[in-house]
């Protein structure tokens, strides 16, 4: 049996959660004050995912960098793979908001898109 401690992010209460697991399956969640805490804990210990935001350099733009995000959540364990894959990327201005900067980042099936427009210099 394995116990994992989490802080719920569902509301300002920030309940300290304890998840008891066995062979990757959740046996119980304690410490939560509402059902949202239970759902959050189960997702967080079995398939945690995040939206990743960062920047990539822009060639010939009014700004040196453009902000980007994964168009959807990717597995939490792949955050650094995603950032590493973007290290090799430079885009040419102009960049439009929503433009795909890198398709299927690090094999996650999720695109990285621009979150800002950058005009050419």
């Amino acid at each position: 049996m394995e116990k994992r401690e989490l802080t719920c992010i569902g509301c300002p209460l920030g309940c300290p959660l304890v998840v008891t697991m066995e062979n990757g399956a959740v046996l119980s969640v304690t410490g939560n004050t509402c059902p949202r805490g239970d759902a959050y804990a189960r997702k967080e210990v079995t398939a945690p995912s995040r939206i990743v935001t960062t920047t990539v350099p822009v060639r010939g733009g009014e700004l040196a960098a453009v902000s980007v995000k994964t168009a959807g959540e990717i597995p939490k364990s792949r955050i650094f793979d995603c950032v590493r894959a973007l290290k090799a990327v430079t885009v040419d201005a102009p960049v439009t908001i929503g433009q795909v900067i890198l398709g299927d980042v690090a094999g996650t099936g999720v695109d990285v898109i621009a979150t800002k427009g950058v005009a050419a210099r």
């Binding site: 802080t7 992010i9 300002p12 700004l63 960098a65 902000s67 995000k69 650094f80 950032v83 979150t115």
Partner: protein, 420 residues
Amino acid sequence: MKQIDLVILGGGPAGLAAAIAAYEAGVRDLVILERDRELGGILNQCIHNGFGLHTFKEELTGPEYAARFAREALTLGIPYKLNTMVLDLSADRVVTAVNRTDGLFQLKAKAVVLAMGCRERPRGALNIPGTRPAGIYTAGTAQRLVNMEGFLPGRRVVILGSGDIGLIMARRMTLEGAKVLCVAELMPYSGGLKRNIVQCLDDFGIPLKLSHTVVDIQGKERVEGITIARVENGKPVPGTEEHFDCDTLLLSCGLLPENELSRSAGVALSPVTGGPLVDESLQTNLPGVFAAGNVLHVHDLVDYVSEEAAAAGRHAAAYILGQKAPAEGEALPVTAVHGVRYTVPTTVHPARLEGSLTLRLRVDGVYRNKVLAVYAGTDCLWRRKRPVLAPGEMETILIKGAALDKLPGCGGLTVTLEEA
């Protein structure tokens, strides 16, 4: 001197929302004055997601949230001037500004909306001992350098203060290859959102040291090390010092409403928030001068900035178009007591209410299982249970309908915490 109906000082989220609301209420002769090279204000450097959940029911990044409002303002054809610094505002609403194309110019406005936002508390306001080397930045300066200018300000980082910008920058610096050694927080609780503590610190194994502060900065030309220590009763405890070899210290120690222009114009400011004292219409003590967003009081969520600023824009429009009830008549003070640190507004004119009254407030500490209540004289107007209240979470109270009939002649409003 050019006459104009409405001047909005600042083109960030508050200024944009105020301008759009004023336009939609019928004001056509208006201008936004913005210091930066683009609209959107500080949102442009806040590249993380989590903005707009209340307004758009989806999670946007800062630049995306800003772009939606900027696009709307552009579509409506609202005039704006970029790279424009406002130098002075007078009590009779003459705005003096300068930029490279118009030179120095003055506008005599019927109404002004203050939307200048806030600034970070700098090292000089923190009394940190030690030398004064390079490598000490406010978290927001580092954010701008990394996210907009494309520079990484350091490789080994200690962060003082667990405000949201500090937490966000802990993650940001980590993703860019820096090592964030710890976040030290003077208070026994973090001022940041729980979500940020989990997703910016816990996700990357960055320790949060509560009740700790920086007691020494080493290095002559560049930061070489930071010493932190545990704090009890406001004093560092000898023997608890911990040293970190690092090249950078980021400061995330609170935000201060930026009211240099307001103060010189004669706008009365609150000693608690540092922002203007306003009435239910978000009007300051100067007739025709309104305020909204972080210049009024520091917000946690931009959604509430937009909401508040849209109200200020509507009230400014009503003032310009002569639809506002005159200021004569009863003005009720709003008093914050028993754990409520401040309220916005601090004055209510019952005759000017249009069916609802919005009160925003913060508490002075962490409270559990309390009741938040509003009294008109001794009549209770509104009360709600709150499982938790914290200084980092702004509360909003909306009072509607028959409860407002109790206001005339009540002597004043009181906002308080009570036992559940």
